[in-house]
Each structure stands twice: as structure tokens, then as C-alpha cells.
């Protein structure tokens, strides 16, 4: 089985979010970048396929040279090859199109991406990629088993879970549950050393077509002061929730 894991290079979850250039760009100053958490669960799941069932695992990212340390980290975790499509990510469609081309050129059977990146929260790249490839697609996937050409996936639905049966080629929008947080693979020294020698191929983009463009950013309005209610005056809280906030 040939597996491609799509890796988004995102600010760490603890990052302070600020903007620069007249609020037109994300301020990367002092920000630590990581593998998108939703992708990281998929990467570890892919490594299990490799260890238990025999599979090759490649990783891919669409972005500039600044994303290479994130791809190297994925190699250190155990991926075999990395591919970087050398173009800034403009929107979900442009990224999906470039990823689909890599997937097609490499003839992958299983393509794992995160259900969304934690920066732009677009939640569209895996689905668009599947549709472009005419491959099957399971979103918000929390469990995946593959036997031969057949796949069984569990997807999270609002208020429950759904078990799906389908076949390869398959694209997954993954998340926590594919593996547990405690199962996540962390690069060790040997992995880091080996990652330096593994291939990281840079390919040029096939087009620059996008469907949307980010114009500007803004931060939410500052919040009002919290009203502290004495613990022996719970009637006041109920009154405020009923008459002021009007939520009960």
C-alpha cells in the first residue's frame, strides 16, 4: 500500500495570534510552527500501517522553504520521502489541486489529511482533493482499517459515530481517534539523524488558480469585564442569566 500523508505547517496551539502589514498577513514573529495536530494523528496511523501491514509512507506539503523543518519532523517520525510543492498556499482549492497532482503522479492508494488545519480552519482540502481525484472520501475519520482493497472507516457524526465500508483509492479527513494522543509518535535521536539523509523533493506547482483570496484579518472585540457573583447569592446568577443574558 502506498500512503501519502498531507502535512500542514501551522502555528502551535499556544501561539498568540497577531497580524502585520496593515492586518493583511499573519505575524509569524516568535511563533513556533508544528505539524497540524489533525494531520499528526493521521501520520502516526500511517506509520502503524507501515509497521503492521507493510506500506510506504510519503509526506507532502504545499508551501515555501520555511515549511521544510515541519516536513523533516515528519521524516524523523518515520516517513520515507517528503515532497514540497514550492508555492505559497493561497486557498483550499489551490492546495487541494496541487496535492491531488502529487497523489496522482505518485499513484497513492490511501491519502490521509487532517479534517482541517488549526490556522485557517477551512476544512475543505481533503474533500476537494478526493473530488478532483474521483477517489472515495471519509471526513472526520476516527478509525481506519484497510484489508487489501477494502477499507472500513468510522466517522464522527453530530452526537455519534457511523461505520462506513468503502474501497481504495481513498482520501481521509482525519482527527484524534485515528490514534490516541498518548500513541502519537515523537521523533527520537536516531529518527532525527536519519531524517537528514531522507529525500525531500521540491516540485514546482502546476498552476496558481484559486477560488478565494484572503483580504484582511481582524481580532475579536475585547471582552467586557467578568461579573463575579458571590457563591451564596446564586439567585443573582439565575436572575442575570434570565433577564440580562436571556439564555435561560
Amino acid at each position: 500500500m502506498k500512503i501519502l500523508v498531507c502535512i500542514s505547517h501551522v502555528p502551535d496551539t499556544t501561539s498568540k495570534i497577531n497580524f502585520t502589514d496593515n492586518n493583511s498577513a499573519f505575524d509569524t514573529n516568535g511563533v513556533q510552527f508544528v505539524i497540524n495536530p489533525n494531520d499528526e494523528f493521521g501520520l502516526t496511523r500511517a506509520m502503524w500501517f507501515k509497521e503492521k501491514q507493510g506500506a510506504s509512507v510519503d509526506v507532502v506539503n504545499v508551501g515555501g522553504p520555511e515549511t521544510e523543518p515541519t516536513l523533516r519532523k515528519a521524516l524523523a517520525i518515520g516517513a520515507d520521502n517528503a515532497i514540497r510543492v514550492n508555492t505559497p498556499a493561497i486557498d483550499g482549492y489551490q492546495v487541494a489541486k496541487e496535492l491531488a497532482k502529487v497523489a496522482q503522479d505518485g499513484n497513492y492508494d490511501l491519502i490521509i489529511a487532517g479534517r482541517e488545519s488549526i490556522d485557517y480552519n477551512g476544512g475543505m482540502v481533503p474533500g476537494m482533493m478526493a473530488q478532483i481525484l474521483k477517489a472515495n472520501f471519509v471526513n472526520t475519520c476516527v478509525s481506519l482499517e484497510v484489508e487489501g482493497n477494502q477499507a472500513t472507516a468510522i466517522r464522527e457524526i453530530d452526537g455519534g459515530k457511523e461505520t462506513l465500508k468503502t474501497s481504495l483509492p481513498l482520501v481521509i479527513g482525519g482527527q484524534k481517534g485515528l490514534v490516541e494522543e498518548s500513541d502519537l509518535k515523537i521523533p527520537n535521536m536516531r529518527g532525527i539523524m536519519m531524517a537528514r539523509k531522507k529525500p525531500l523533493n521540491v516540485v514546482e506547482p502546476s498552476s496558481t488558480e484559486s477560488f478565494t483570496q484572503t483580504k484582511s484579518f481582524e481580532k475579536p472585540a475585547p471582552k467586557g469585564e467578568v461579573k463575579i457573583i458571590e457563591e451564596d447569592n446564586l439567585d443573582q446568577l439565575i436572575d442575570l442569566l434570565h433577564n440580562e443574558a436571556k439564555v435561560i
Binding site: D158, L164, I229, E231
Partner: protein, 322 residues
């Protein structure tokens, strides 16, 4: 030209998210000087859409579409968009909406903006405001394609009543065999519980509750309020509660009217994930807990004393205001 809204049903009934999407679609239609057409699958209460400004409904009644299937639904909605000559397709952001929207976008070659919180600006191009960085910021995104898809965030635009005819037309899309390449083997869904996605009120517990055996505090309060129960990331990581209850940046987002956090200190990732909730109440014995800065109402006190008292008082309140 028209606006198409996809209105999701569950067991034949429209979800609240569908009425929110219809309200939003009506807002877009008013700006653009046109009408709203809805597309619905196997619905029982078509006329209900009229209350939110839907003029026409393309009703697809097909037994093969009784259970949700993203590919087949996207294919059918794409054909409905054609039928209605729609330039803009509006939908909600339920799990199913998020599953099918990217497929629809490629089929229609339409730019898709998810997590949209306000009506578009159409005076100079077509720009929408979306929440990004898990509610830590917004961005203004221009959709540059002729056809456009907008996913409206829960509880952002809200419900706007508006009387229209909701005139029903039966619609039969041409479905392909490959639309059914994914088979639903089983569904596991608690039918007696409010889901975090649908809930108006969410009661959430953190490490301050000391152990899973104390979750009756959260559950009792939730029951009085008809609320969904949720938890912080450490609680789910320690296995006190299932992952499906984990809310925050890497868990589920919460956009309820009321969010009550018990014994949750308020890590930045948690605050981001729940910040779309309208009113936040925090109960914590540590006055320095960061959550107090993000809350509307706070009680500094021992959850084990405060919560049972609050539950009792709310019971009385509900009985008197029923």
C-alpha cells in the same frame, strides 16, 4: 439568478442549523434582489421553511437517500443549483454539511468559504467574514468565482423569521452508481441525549472535579438545563470522559447560547474552542484561573458545594417558569 440553501433534515425534520442557513440565505437574497430556493431530502415539514424566507423548495424524495451519503447528496445539490440557476449556495456547518461542501465546490467549480459569521459585502466584489485560528481571529475572504458556496457558522447569524410561500416542487436528480461507493454499515447514536453540536446550553467539567465518579455534578446540572455535557482536554486524555465530549481547539467547537465551565482553568486552546458561545459562566475555586478573564459571569467557590446548590435553584426556577 437565485440563492440556493441546502436544508438538512434528521428523521424528516429540519435541523435548527437549516433554519439558520435559510435565514442567512434570505439575507443574501435581499442584498442581491432575488429569492431563496431550498433543496431538501425526504422532509416532512416543508412549509416550516417559509417562516425563514424560503420562496421555493426543491424536494428530493428518494429512498436511496434516506441515509446521508456525502457524494450522492453533493451530486444532487449540484443539480439543484443548476435547476434553480443559483449563483450562491448556502449551507450550515454540521458534520454532514462540512463533509459534502468541498465535494460540491469542486463539482460547481465554486469558491467555498466555511465558518462564515456575517452577511457578505457585495458592493465591491463578494467578500465574507469568517472565523479563523479557532475563533482567535476573523478574516475577510473574497470569493472570486462566478458561483459561490457559503457555510454559515452555528449561532452566528441566528434565526430571522420572514414569511414566504415555501412552494414545493418535486425534484429528481440523476444519480450515478459511483455516488454510492461508500456504504453505511452501522450508525451508533444516542437518541436520548442532546449533542454538543445541537445544544443551546453546554455544561462542561475539568480536572477540578477530581475524578470521573464526580460527573453526576455535571450531568445533574445539564439535565435541569436540557444541556449537552462536555469536558476539557486533560479530562478526555485521562479517559475520565469519552473523546467525543472533548471541546476546544483540537476537540469540538462549542457555539451554544450558554456555556458553563466547572473546574476548568481555561487553557488558551480551550478558550478558543468555546469562545463562539454567547454567554460563559465559570465556576472555579481559583480566582486566578484564566477562564475568569474570558467569562461573562464567574463564581469563585468550591464546585462540590456550588454546583449542587445551583442545580437545586435552577430546578425551582424551571418549575416556576415552565
Amino acid at each position: 439568478m437565485s440563492i440556493l440553501v441546502y436544508t438538512e433534515t434528521e428523521n424528516g425534520k429540519f435541523k435548527k442549523a437549516s433554519f439558520e442557513a435559510a435565514s442567512y440565505a434570505k439575507g443574501v437574497a435581499e442584498k442581491m434582489g432575488t429569492d431563496v430556493t431550498a433543496v431538501a431530502f425526504n422532509a416532512e415539514d416543508i412549509k416550516a421553511l417559509g417562516d425563514y424566507g424560503v420562496a421555493k423548495v426543491l424536494h428530493i424524495q428518494n429512498d436511496k437517500l434516506k441515509t446521508f451519503n456525502a457524494e450522492a447528496y453533493a451530486d444532487a445539490i449540484a443539480q439543484a443549483a443548476q435547476e434553480a440557476s443559483a449563483d450562491v449556495v448556502v449551507l450550515g456547518q454540521t458534520a454532514n454539511d462540512k463533509y459534502l461542501a468541498p465535494l460540491l465546490a469542486v463539482q460547481l467549480q465554486a469558491g467555498y468559504a466555511s465558518n462564515v459569521v456575517e452577511l457578505p459585502e457585495i458592493e465591491n466584489g463578494f467578500t465574507v467574514k469568517r472565523s479563523v485560528f479557532t475563533n482567535k481571529a476573523f478574516n475577510h475572504t473574497a470569493i472570486t468565482t462566478d458561483k459561490k458556496i457559503i457555510g454559515v457558522s452555528k449561532n452566528a447569524y441566528g434565526l430571522k423569521e420572514n414569511s414566504a410561500a415555501a412552494e414545493e416542487t418535486s425534484f429528481s436528480p440523476n444519480l450515478k452508481e459511483e455516488d454510492f461507493n461508500i456504504e453505511v454499515a452501522s450508525v451508533d447514536k444516542a437518541t436520548d441525549k442532546v449533542t454538543i453540536a445541537d445544544a443551546e446550553v453546554v455544561v462542561s467539567g475539568g480536572r477540578g472535579l477530581k475524578g470521573p465518579e464526580n460527573w453526576n455534578l455535571v450531568e445533574d446540572l445539564a439535565e435541569v438545563l436540557g444541556a449537552a455535557t462536555a469536558c476539557s482536554k486533560p479530562v478526555s486524555d485521562m479517559g475520565w470522559r469519552p473523546h467525543s465530549e472533548h471541546v476546544g481547539q483540537t476537540g469540538k467547537p462549542v457555539a451554544s447560547n450558554l456555556y458553563i465551565a466547572i473546574g476548568i482553568s481555561g487553557a488558551i486552546q480551550h478558550l478558543a474552542g468555546v469562545s463562539a458561545s454567547k454567554t460563559k459562566v465559570v465556576i472555579n475555586n481559583d480566582p486566578e484561573a484564566p477562564f475568569f478573564k474570558a467569562a461573562d459571569y464567574g463564581i469563585v467557590g468550591d464546585a462540590f458545594e456550588v454546583v449542587p446548590k445551583l442545580t437545586e435553584k435552577l430546578k425551582e426556577f424551571k418549575a416556576n417558569n415552565a
